[in-house]
Symmetry: D2
Subunit: 140 residues, 4 copies
Amino acid sequence: MDFEEVFIYEHKVQFYETDKMGISHHSNYIRWMEEARMAFFASCGADYGQLEEKGIESPVVSVECRYKAPSRFGEVLRIAVKTDYFNGVRLRFSYSFLDAQDKLIAAGMTEHCFVNSAGTVLNMKKACPEFWRSMAANTF
Amino acid sequence: MDFEEVFIYEHKVQFYETDKMGISHHSNYIRWMEEARMAFFASCGADYGQLEEKGIESPVVSVECRYKAPSRFGEVLRIAVKTDYFNGVRLRFSYSFLDAQDKLIAAGMTEHCFVNSAGTVLNMKKACPEFWRSMAANTF
Amino acid sequence: MDFEEVFIYEHKVQFYETDKMGISHHSNYIRWMEEARMAFFASCGADYGQLEEKGIESPVVSVECRYKAPSRFGEVLRIAVKTDYFNGVRLRFSYSFLDAQDKLIAAGMTEHCFVNSAGTVLNMKKACPEFWRSMAANTF
Amino acid sequence: MDFEEVFIYEHKVQFYETDKMGISHHSNYIRWMEEARMAFFASCGADYGQLEEKGIESPVVSVECRYKAPSRFGEVLRIAVKTDYFNGVRLRFSYSFLDAQDKLIAAGMTEHCFVNSAGTVLNMKKACPEFWRSMAANTF
């Protein structure tokens, strides 16, 4: 796996993210994907806060995560994010969670669309060309 | 402690609310106070959703919680809520958390104000008299 | 969709489960699947707490969720749970989230395995035959 | 307020930490105090993970938070942590939450005790002298 061209986000597992099995609760990975994605947007010059100022929101359409090994309190995970697909309407990210030994402990994906304040689905090529260009330039 | 006149809300501790100590994470009690408070509002005929429709929000001004004994996955807690104080501007609730044996395992309080969409602090006696009456009738 | 034979769990959307889009944050659906699943276990006479007392844990191996429409603060969702598959080693549930108008707003699945305290993957037919029978009887 | 001698922890407000008022949900401040406290422990050479390896846990006995101004998605908060009091048995921290303009937006405190795996309350002067010394050296 070549991570040279992907964006890497780090998350330190917090105590409140653990559960009674002594590991990170599985629902947190969905939240960490969001953290990583927001940082990725910013790194592309496509700040999510700026989208919101234009009245554009980006609901999550689907999520998936496969868990291969647990993570634990205090561990620093690296989350590799990449854009799988973006046609202006539908945006798909994939995520790889790596532990300190570079072991792949989980892998996931999220899909997103874009809507205006009336809830109408937007084509970002038209609705926000600079966002489209920023993201398209970072789609593999 | 006489709970005859107070509102009782039940919450079943969820797996995702536990932490690696094997008990409910302490931050959840703050969330359970909110659950209990919202149910209490509704029981007073002062539905929080209706307040929001009028453009009124109720930020939390302060919270406190003292933990006497832990709670665990699957336990059904009873949360006794009562209004300590309401002068139209500032509203204060207190909460008692009881386990299945009626043991007091935690006690807390929250304070709230009311603001309009411009962020101006409201006196609910004027801004929303029916809410004022509903809550005042339930203040001990 | 015939829900006659499936288990239905209800969840009321809490204020703390909303996000700044004004809807339930998507990560909560993963938690609600857990709530529904735990209630389903209990309804099958296969209490999860009892498994834990035997030193058996059930890590989540994968999750998926597709979001079709948002849910909002105060809504009562019904979550239909059913066992898709259980061969003793791998257990798979599917979930349908319905709003008050019986509209399908989200659908998901989770997969689970079973491990002992040493982390060894168990075949529940052998390790816990009464759990196996309870769940197998409820697998469609 | 002189923060020269206190420990500063930074937290970036995440999207999933917001609520439908468009601000950080108040329960998260309790979690951020934990984040800041754990980082403070580490900075004192008193790693919490090491305590746990010795079978020592540190339940939260009480929390308080006063909210003066909201925080929002994307904001980086600085949390100043200091030890108010530690007599070996009871440990008390206070926390100041500052926004990017150094404005105090919230202030809180937490109290903690220490227990062994049997649940017996420990005096850390005896039970873990190196922890006692690390923390005492950082108590103002």
